[in-house]
């Protein structure tokens, strides 16, 4: 039996994959800025905020959200969308806000280092 699963979809040229490890940062920041959101809204928010540059493989939000629930960074509750559909809304907790601070400072440290390397070259 031959495998008929294509391993990787060709990347969309006009959009860039997000740097690894920053998915939590993006979700945390988005929730912090916009408050109560469901999964689709989070994906849309990340896309629009980044002027459509950052593309999240949209499904990968969900494992990340599950982990955030377990870590206690966010809570979830069911609500109704504008289109009158049932959706799960996520809200940041205090621990989530603390985590956001950590993630931002870590990201800035790494980014700063990379920028310094680029400038000296």
């Amino acid at each position: 039996m031959t495998a008929l699963i294509r391993r990787k979809a060709a990347a969309d040229k006009s959009r860039d994959e997000i740097p690894p490890g920053t998915l939590y940062l993006l979700i945390l920041k988005t929730l912090a800025a916009r408050g109560r959101l469901h999964g689709y809204e989070i994906a849309e928010a990340i896309l629009s905020c980044s002027d459509e540059v950052l593309q999240v493989e949209e499904g990968s939000l969900y494992p990340a959200l599950q982990r955030m629930l377990i870590q206690g960074w966010a809570t979830a509750e069911w609500g109704v969308t504008a289109g009158n559909r049932r959706a799960r809304y996520y809200t940041l907790t205090l621990a989530g806000k603390r985590q956001l601070g950590l993630e931002i400072s870590q990201f800035e440290r790494v980014m700063g280092a990379i920028v310094r390397v680029l400038e000296t070259a």
Binding site: A9, A43, E57, G59, S60, Y62, Q66, R85, R88
Partner: protein, 909 residues
């Protein structure tokens, strides 16, 4: 806090994983729907929009799995899956499962049982506060104590008081009497005497140990402040529950010991058993009362009596070295400061040599420990080997099974199951088997423990030893179980997944290469045979030891002697009361008059009951103080009862009275060594010396008796003398009756006769001298019986191993055998071929096992008697047993091989 919160959320997800799953699905569905609607709103047609939405979302199955992994319960789900699968598989092969479970239960159970003893006797700490701070002064065992001036093991009461007051290294020190008083006591006004163990202790005993009372109070310093006027006892939990029915008003009850009535002031905690492992006093009384509690041990509180153990609790931060130094300085200073110290040259030399060592009391004192630690270690080794054999067996069974499953596993691998996944599944199955076996093993161990405890106690009251399951034991069993699973599960698992797929897919039964592909199975069988040989040889050695011991000549005739104990102290006689001697005389006369009784006599000792020994002086001879003679105080007919031949002279008679010349009968060896020239009759010697604070007594020899064993069967010849109780008072216990005819009838008549003289005399320990002698090698009996049992188990398991492997091989080689037979091989030749293979395996096992057995024999040397660890008879017997067992186990597969029908066999090919 955050961690526990996280755990809580994870557990919620585990228990509601159905809901969490459907929530996630709904959420993801919504996302894709919204994306599709967005695309359609942007102008795409329905199909394009759907595809775009799905593409941007990613692979939903993978994402769902990833989310589940986030919950952290994936392992549990696969585990349950594997376990379910394993259970189904076990149920499908009930025979193999039963054998595996049985051998595991036996292996783990035996290990658990022996370990629980090892733990109780050797490892467990005393149930007191900070037991690691406790030390005892002196390390000698009680058997090695002589009447030296400066004993470093036993101390006097005045020494203890001084030591407690003056030392700077212990936060407190307590003293306990070195022996427990076996007395008969009366609860309240009851007339029925209760046999009791009473321990006399210093007032601060409980405080020093840090033990409180569960009811009432414990003893305190005030109870031990002045001599003889503090009749109070603390009773044990067992006594309270057994004899007082756990009465909450226990403090209103009294206990009469001898002629003093004691107030019960408290009940010790249930787990507290004092300081000696394997003993449980019924009551603790203050040392101030030692003089009036029968048998009046410890009444003598002079500066140099040697009767107390001293226990100290180290001050925090004080090291044992520091405490030892301080103790030794103080030891000498105190002894020298006593005004009645007799500082003769010998005594000063004693003092100079004396060095007090401190022994940890963390695990308490125990005679059991010195007696049983060696046998227990050997037994632990034996059962560990049995477990190893059981593991090898199971590994073999699983190996054969996994080979039979090769095709199934190959199919699973071909369908994409990872190697790790299959190994994990096989390991889960092993673990399942091991856990089931472990659970059975614990049940088995609980039963085995009771049997073992009875075996050790041998007719006496069951030794109060807590061998119940405890955390340490559970940890041990779990470790054994898991270790077992890994041991026998890993090999088959690794092997099963290394197979070439294509070949196994082609045919369930391989070609003729079967024999070459099972080296592991063969190695396991060889190992089993080797270990079995080790155990069989060991069992033979222990059996021979037992036989040797049972044939040791005791010097007396232990058959047809009824023995019992009479506690005359319960009558409250004072020392040297003439009524006591009269009572003994009357009992002896009345019992000897009974039909079926040849002779009856009291004695201070009988066999293996300890001793009273002193050094002695002989006129015109310089004897070392180390020459000790053991004294026995007896009735006139003792030698006749025991049938100890009198070689020379006469026995005691009516002429030997309290006022006549002190006389003694001495043992043959003593006569030969200490009175070498001429006849010994009429010669004299002296026991007791002013140096030790005793009145010297000059004794005249009137007879010589054949040497007997006194303290044990394996002891060297002892110097023994016998003195009549008319001249030397003794609060007797032992009473011996030589009888003929039915033991039961005689026993009843003897007891009735004693009761008719005095109905209140407590009679106990009614048994025979033969039983008492047999008890002296309980240890060896225990080891012989258990090692024989385990050797049988080992051989049996090895047989199953050989049978299993050979059956399997014959099965795999059906085709080859069929061809041979079709080509004209005779049935006997085929059978011989199989047998030859078995013989090779057994021979290899024996070749490995023999050197191991030789080495092992050396380890057991201390427990053997009259046989060396390299005894050729035992080695030969072991080898013969294994060859016979191996051939027996191989017979069935060989016969099956010889009955293969070539036509049927070849049809498979």
């Amino acid at each position: 806090m955050s961690l526990s919160g996280e755990l809580k959320r994870r557990l919620q997800m585990l228990f509601h994983r159905g809901r969490f799953q459907s929530d996630l699905d709904e959420e993801m569905r919504l996302h894709v729907d919204l994306r599709r609607e967005q695309q359609m709103a942007a102008g795409a047609d329905a199909e394009t929009a759907r595809r775009a939405a799905l593409k941007r979302f990613g692979n939903p199955t993978r994402l769902r799995e990833e989310s589940q992994r986030a919950w952290g319960w994936e392992w549990l789900e696969t585990l349950l899956q594997d376990a379910g699968y394993g259970l189904r598989f076990m149920a499908r092969t009930p025979g193999v499962t039963a054998i595996a479970l049985l051998s595991l239960a036996l292996g783990i159970g035996a290990n658990t049982a022996i370990f629980s003893f090892l733990n109780a006797v050797m490892l467990r700490s005393l149930p007191v506060k900070n037991p690691q701070q406790l030390v005892k002064l002196g390390v000698g065992d009680s058997a090695g104590i002589t009447d030296s001036f400066a004993s470093t093991d036993l101390y006097s009461y005045p020494f203890y008081r001084e030591f407690r007051r003056r030392n700077a290294v212990f936060s407190d020190t307590a003293a306990t009497f070195s022996m427990t008083n076996s007395v008969h006591g009366f609860v309240d006004e009851q007339s029925e005497p209760q046999p009791l163990q009473v321990q006399t202790v210093s007032g601060n005993f409980f405080q020093t140990l840090g033990v409180g009372a569960q009811r009432g109070r414990v003893l305190d310093d005030a109870d031990d402040s002045s001599e003889g006027d503090h009749p109070v006892v603390v009773i044990s939990d067992r006594f309270w529950k057994r004899d007082l029915g756990g009465d909450p008003g226990v403090l209103h009850h009294t206990l009469r010991l001898g002629d003093v009535v004691y107030q019960i002031v408290g009940v010790a905690p249930p787990e507290f058993f004092g300081t000696v492992v394997g003993e449980l006093p019924d009551a603790w009384a203050p040392l101030s009362m030692a003089g009036v509690i029968p048998p009046h041990w410890g009444a003598d509180k002079n500066d140099f009596s040697e009767s107390l153990y001293i226990i100290g609790r180290l001050k925090p931060g004080v090291s044992v070295t520091q405490a030892t130094a301080d103790t030794n300085v103080l030891f000498k200073a105190i002894l020298l400061s006593f005004p009645d110290a007799r500082l003769s040259k010998d005594n000063l030399a004693d003092l100079n040599h004396a060095h007090v060592q401190l022994e940890s009391m963390e695990r308490g004192l125990s005679d059991l420990r010195s007696e049983y630690s060696e046998p227990l270690k050997i037994l632990m080794g034996i059962v560990a080997l049995v477990l190893l054999i059981a593991c090898a067996n199971i590994a073999n069974l699983l190996l054969a099974r996994s080979t039979a499953r090769a095709r199934e596993l190959a199919v699973r691998q071909a369908l994409g199951a990872g190697r790790m996944r299959i190994i994990r599944q096989l390991l889960t199955e092993s673990l399942l088997l091991a856990i089931a076996g472990g659970a059975l093993g614990i049940a088995f161990a609980a039963g085995a423990n009771r049997v073992l405890l009875r075996m050790i106690s041998q007719g006496r009251q069951t030794i109060p030893l807590d061998v119940s399951v405890n955390p340490r034991l559970l940890a041990f069993t779990c470790a054994v179980t898991v270790g077992t699973a890994l041991l026998f599960g890993t090999l088959p698992a690794l092997r099963a997944t290394r197979l070439q797929l294509t070949e196994n897919l082609k045919s369930g039964r391989g070609g003729s290469a079967g024999s070459r592909r099972t080296p592991l199975a063969r190695i396991l069988v060889v190992a089993q045979v080797a270990i079995s040989l080790l155990l069989t040889v060991g069992a033979c050695l222990f059996q021979r030891t037992l036989i040797n011991l049972s044939h040791v000549s005791t010097g007396f005739n232990p058959d047809h002697v009824l023995t019992l104990r009479i506690d005359s102290d319960a009558k409250g006689f004072k020392d040297k009361d003439p009524r006591e001697t009269a009572l003994f005389k009357e009992i002896e006369a009345r019992v000897e008059a009974l039909p079926g009784v040849q002779a009856a006599s009291f004695s201070a000792f009988r066999f293996e009951e300890g001793s009273w020994n002193t050094s002695m002086r002989v006129p015109d001879r310089q004897l070392s103080r180390d020459v000790n003679v053991k004294h026995n105080i007896i009735g006139n007919d003792y030698l006749r009862v025991m049938q100890i031949p009198l070689i020379e002279g006469r026995t005691f008679g009516a002429q030997d009275t309290g006022t006549s010349q002190r006389v003694a009968i001495i043992s043959e060896q003593m006569a030969r060594d200490l009175f070498p020239a001429g006849s010994v009759i009429g010669r004299t010697y002296t026991i007791g010396s002013a140096d030790d604070g005793d009145t010297p007594v000059q004794i005249q020899v009137i007879g010589v008796a054949r040497d007997v064993k006194f303290g044990g069967l394996t002891e060297p010849v002892q110097y023994i003398d016998y003195m009549p109780y008319t001249q030397r008072e003794w609060g007797f216990g032992d009473f011996e009756v030589r009888y003929s005819g039915d033991l039961g009838a005689v026993s009843k008549e003897v007891q009735d006769a004693i009761r008719s003289i005095d109905p209140t005399l407590p009679i106990s320990d009614v048994e025979t001298l033969g039983e008492q002698v047999a008890r002296s090698y309980t240890n060896e009996t225990l080891i012989a019986e258990l090692s024989a049992f385990f050797a049988l188990v080992a051989v049996f398991l090895s047989c199953i191993g050989i049978y299993g492997v050979m059956s399997y091989l014959v099965g795999r080689r059906t085709g080859e055998i069929g061809i041979r037979m079709a080509l004209g091989a005779r049935r006997s030749a085929v059978a011989w071929q199989v047998m030859r293979e078995i013989a090779m395996l057994v021979a290899a096992g024996i070749a490995i096992g023999l050197p191991a057995a030789l080495a092992g024999g050396r380890l057991t040397g201390k427990l053997l008697y009259g046989v060396s660890g390299t005894d050729p008879v035992s080695l030969a017997a072991g080898v013969a047993i294994l060859i016979a067992a191996g051939l027996l186990a191989g017979y069935l597969p060989a016969r099956r091989a010889s009955r293969i029908d070539p036509l049927t066999a070849l049809r498979y090919e």
